[in-house]
């Protein structure tokens, strides 16, 4: 009978503690706003897990503290506790019940996963490329232009087709809940359906080297009309053939182009690589002790074989080694699309020359 009373008290305490903890979690373990359709089933699953955490934690802690405070012995009591060796029924019980519970959560998780990853009607594709340490986005269905911010229409399922140029990165907008790595050499996909207009921050979630911290991009979710207006404005951008080499150079420097901006500032600010301000004609000291004057051949080598001459104070291996390939591919693409030959490196040099 005494035993029975203990269990009743414990049950009440556990129940109270569970509810209290769950309430506390809403404060100290709050989730960010939910701004995508995917966030809704995921948050429901979070809620389920929170209840389970609150309950299990209460169960064990209440019983532990109860045992500590109710059954404890005074300092001069040397006697032993009751001789209870074990109880097979109990053991089987607390093996089976958690098994069923966790498998239940597994099923719930699988259903939710299927929910958020299965194709939806009227999807729109955006290609995402990650590169140390910039993001770029291309819109194949809207005229195949590139953008350095991710602009999305509201209430439409977006299929992000993602890849990385160099190392693994990861796409994470906390308000959208879902996350997906960008892996070099393969394409990964992620579906998101923004449900409210607004501005969000996309932050790279996988350590990707020196400037991982700063690998961020803006995500803007617009209503349908606003999105269309943005697409039209982007498409109105002039063809490469119509641009001056300097303008093209500025474009290549940006995240939409080759992403040089990730490391080379234009205003003299220090970065991972030397600033481009006043670069042309400057005397540079090299790591191996020599000096060079920055001229066309030097810039060309620095782009296609960056480790050949490292400027003093900078680290080797940081600059992607595959720019020669990237540039050749781009030039071919432009040749195919616009029928003109463009020399990207010459554009860049022309642009650098303007940066006094």
């Amino acid at each position: 009978m005494r035993r029975f009373r203990h269990f009743i008290i414990v049950a009440v305490l556990v129940a109270l503690s569970t509810v209290g903890l769950r309430a506390l979690f809403s404060v100290i373990l709050a989730l960010p706003r939910a701004s995508s359709a995917e966030a809704i089933p995921i948050d429901a699953l979070f809620n389920g897990h929170y209840w389970m955490i609150a309950f299990l934690f209460s169960l064990i802690m209440v019983m532990m503290l109860y045992a500590l405070f109710v059954f404890r012995r005074p300092a001069d009591d040397d006697s032993d506790g009751p001789y209870i060796h074990g109880n097979t029924v109990l053991e089987i019980g607390w093996t089976i019940v958690p098994t069923v519970v966790v498998l239940g959560f597994g099923v719930w998780g699988a259903i939710t996963l299927n929910d958020i990853t299965s194709p939806k009607p009227n999807e729109m594709t955006v290609n995402v490329t990650g590169q140390q340490w910039v993001w770029s986005f291309a819109y194949p269905e809207q005229g195949d232009f590139a953008s350095s911010e991710l602009v999305l229409p509201v209430d439409r399922t977006i299929v992000l087709k993602m890849t990385a140029e160099d190392v693994i990165h990861s796409f994470w907008v906390p308000e959208f809940r879902v996350k997906q790595d960008l892996v070099p050499g393969r394409e990964t996909t992620l579906r998101i359906t923004p449900t409210e207009a607004g501005e969000f921050a996309l932050r790279c979630a996988e350590i990707c080297g020196l400037n991982h911290t700063q690998m961020v991009a803006t995500v803007r979710v617009l209503d349908a009309a606003g999105f269309q207006a943005w697409v039209d404005a982007e498409n109105a951008a002039p063809a490469f053939a119509d641009m001056t080499p300097e303008d093209r150079g500025a474009f290549w420097h940006s995240a939409e182009g080759l992403g040089c901006v990730a490391c080379h500032s234009l205003d003299g600010a220090p970065g991972v690589g030397p600033t481009w301000q006043g670069l042309y004609g400057r005397q540079e000291e090299l790591e191996d002790g020599g000096t060079v004057t920055v001229d066309d051949p030097y810039i060309t080598t620095s782009i296609i074989d960056p480790n050949a001459q490292i400027t003093a104070g900078y680290l080797p291996n940081l600059m992607p080694q595959n720019y020669a390939d990237q540039i050749a591919a781009l030039e071919q693409e432009i040749q195919a699309a616009e029928g003109v030959d463009i020399d990207i490196i010459a554009d860049l040099i022309a642009f650098i020359k303007t940066l006094e």
Partner: protein, 626 residues
């Protein structure tokens, strides 16, 4: 004074370090020299030379320190007696600086180096935590920050492996009634090989650090700063220690148990040690392959992971996590064993469901092998692969749960002391901390929620809680509990309690704070965060908590060091335990049991009068323990 210095300077430790320096210089010089002969432009800055030098350096350490001497003698057919006791003409303490074959000495060597390394890792954490207290960059740059957290991760893990080695080495032979481990020389090798490994990792910091975290994912590892190579090689060498140590333990338990000690009559800690060793013996090899491949790709130009040559960066992750998931159970199983070991003693009740607790260790170890891909839910695996891994991950909760429920049932109606001594406090604290660490696991194991939580500070909170609850707290508890056994003296109880009451709340603040910021969008491994997240207040709290933990650990160190002199001599069996190690004098004699004992009962029969667990084979029945 001068003599002390001479003893230290001629010790195996110092000789080994010198050997490592010389070896490194030779290896480096050899490759770089060859290049110079070939007329290369900058022959002296060359990564392969560094890698080669590092390997030769480790060999140099091993030879110079003398761990290999006996084996080398065997090759030429000389039999070598197992040397015991302090080196000729040197004081007892010099054993700890020299190659010694006694498992208790090696255990203490492991323990002390583990604490030292813990300090280093902890200081790193405190440095970068201060940076993270505020937004904006205060006193570190990106590269320093990246290097610090990467080093913090791997150094702490090395510290854990050392602590696990300490507990297993010291306790397991004592508990099973063996005079030593089955292969004392191999045992010494396991410890000593981890010293040059630690030095390698630390020197990685000196040559420029690295920025991959402790996981070293390809393809970033191929482009990271040079420290990467030393990190990879150091991690690799630690593997030797794990494999040799675990094989040794398994053989010891299999062949050297006291008469009558059937498997289900072993002290429960030994079961944990066995389960741990099974994991270490096998899984370590696959991470070895992953690390070897990374070094080969980086240094020799072979291709495995870089997609531009057809490689597969995800392969690295599979090989890495096939080890590194199971290894988290290496971290906790001995700690959980300590909890299971101590609770019956303090509750004066049998361990509830001994067999289930014993088998749950094996269960955790085995299921632990089937879940590794839960670290890769966002890597782009097909659903057909990641969903099964979700289910297997959920299942590890079950054997772990068995332990928790059995612990509660053990203390239920038990007679815990009214004024719990420090070891008991740490054990109860460990239960609470490991519990929160554990229950924050399934939410990570469920894919949809993990898609939000992956690579966020929630994960950081989860694993600090599991590692503190499963290792740090039990390990500290074990240090206090067996302190009188190891030194013959009692630690200072008041300082012990102070340590606990500082560390537990601080830890809770730190861990819950980490989970909280993670949910709100704090990514892992970043040097600075967006003020827009609104988490600055919590970040300050986490940093303050980290400082409190740091101070509390310093208090413990003070206690452990100074109690050896100042505290009264301890009772041989201060906890009234039935464990075999408490039935002999403290510290135990060189070969533990001068007269072998035999097992005639079950280990945890508290509460049953006139039961005997062990008795001297020679003497007639003497009731043991109680």
């Amino acid at each position: 004074m001068f003599k002390t210095l001479r003893i230290i300077l001629t010790s195996a430790l110092v000789r080994g370090i010198l050997g490592q320096l010389i070896g490194t210089a030779l290896g480096y010089g050899f490759i770089a020299g060859l290049r110079a002969l070939r007329g290369a432009e900058t022959p002296w800055i060359y990564e392969p030379a560094l890698a080669f030098g590092a390997i030769i350096g480790v060999i140099g350490f091993l030879i110079a320190s003398g761990v290999l001497t006996d084996w080398l003698k065997w090759i030429v057919g000389r039999r070598t007696p197992l040397r015991h006791g302090a080196p000729e003409g040197k004081p007892e303490w010099s054993r700890y600086f020299n190659v010694d074959y006694n498992h208790k000495v090696i255990g203490i060597q492991y323990g002390v180096s583990s604490l030292l390394i813990l300090l280093i890792g902890g200081i790193f954490a405190i440095i970068f935590r201060i940076e993270l207290a505020q937004t904006g960059m205060q006193w570190l740059n990106n590269n320093q920050f990246n290097t610090l957290f990467s080093a913090h991760g791997i150094i702490m893990i090395a510290a854990i492996l050392g602590g696990v080695g300490a507990m297993i080495n010291y306790l397991a032979p004592l508990m099973i009634g063996a005079s030593d481990m089955a292969f004392p020389r191999l045992n010494a090798f396991s410890f000593w090989v981890s010293v040059p490994a630690a030095l390698l990792i630390l020197s990685g910091l000196a040559v420029g650090g690295w920025d991959t975290g402790w996981v070293g994912y390809a393809t970033l590892s191929l482009r990271a700063p040079v420290g990467m190579v030393l990190f990879l090689l150091g991690f690799w060498v630690v593997g030797f220690s794990s494999i040799a140590g675990s094989a040794n333990l398994l053989v010891t338990v299999a062949t050297m148990r006291a008469k009558g000690m059937s498997l289900f009559r072993m002290p429960i800690f030994v079961w944990a040690a066995v389960a741990t060793s099974i994991i270490q013996l096998t899984a370590t090899q696959t991470v070895g392959v992953a690390l070897t491949m990374s070094v080969a790709e980086r240094v020799m130009g072979l291709n495995f992971f870089d997609p531009s040559g057809g490689g597969n960066p995800i392969l690295y992750q599979h090989l890495f996590w096939f080890y590194s998931h199971p290894v988290v159970y290496v971290f906790v199983l001995p700690g959980l064993g300590v909890i299971s070991e101590l609770l019956p003693v303090f509750a004066r009740k049998p361990l509830f469901g001994y067999r289930w607790v014993a088998l749950s260790s094996l269960g955790i170890a085995l299921v632990g092998f089937l879940v590794w891909a839960h670290h890769m839910f966002t890597s782009g695996m097909a659903d057909a692969l990641r969903v099964p891994f979700m289910f297997s991950t959920m299942l590890v909760a079950v054997p772990t749960g068995v332990k928790f429920f059995s612990w509660i049932a053990t203390i239920w109606e038990g007679k815990l002391p009214k004024n719990p001594p420090t070891p008991l406090l740490f054990v109860l604290g460990a239960i609470s901390v490991f519990l929160i660490g554990g229950v924050t696991g399934p939410i990570l194991g469920t894919i949809p929620t993990d898609l939000h939580l992956h690579d966020s500070y929630w994960v950081v909170g989860h694993f600090h809680a599991t590692m503190f609850g499963g290792f740090i707290f039990p390990f500290f508890g074990a240090l206090y509990y067996w302190y009188p056994k190891m030194t013959g003296r009692m630690y200072n109880e008041r300082l012990g309690k102070l340590h606990f009451w500082l560390m537990l709340p601080a830890f809770w603040v730190m861990s819950i704070g980490q989970m909280s910021v993670g949910l709100l969008g704090m990514r892992r491994r970043i040097a600075d965060y967006d003020p827009a997240l609104g988490i600055e207040g919590t970040q300050v709290l986490i940093t303050l908590a980290a400082l409190v933990i740091g101070w509390s650990v310093l208090i413990m160190l003070y206690n452990l060091v100074f109690s050896q002199r100042r505290q009264p001599v301890a009772d041989p069996n201060p906890w009234r335990s039935r464990g075999p190690e408490w039935q002999i004098i403290s510290p135990p004699p060189e070969f533990n049991y001068n007269v072998p004992f035999e097992v005639v009962g079950d280990p945890y029969e508290y509460g049953l009068a006139d039961t005997t667990y062990i008795r001297d084979v020679a003497r007639a029945s003497v009731p043991s323990g109680d």
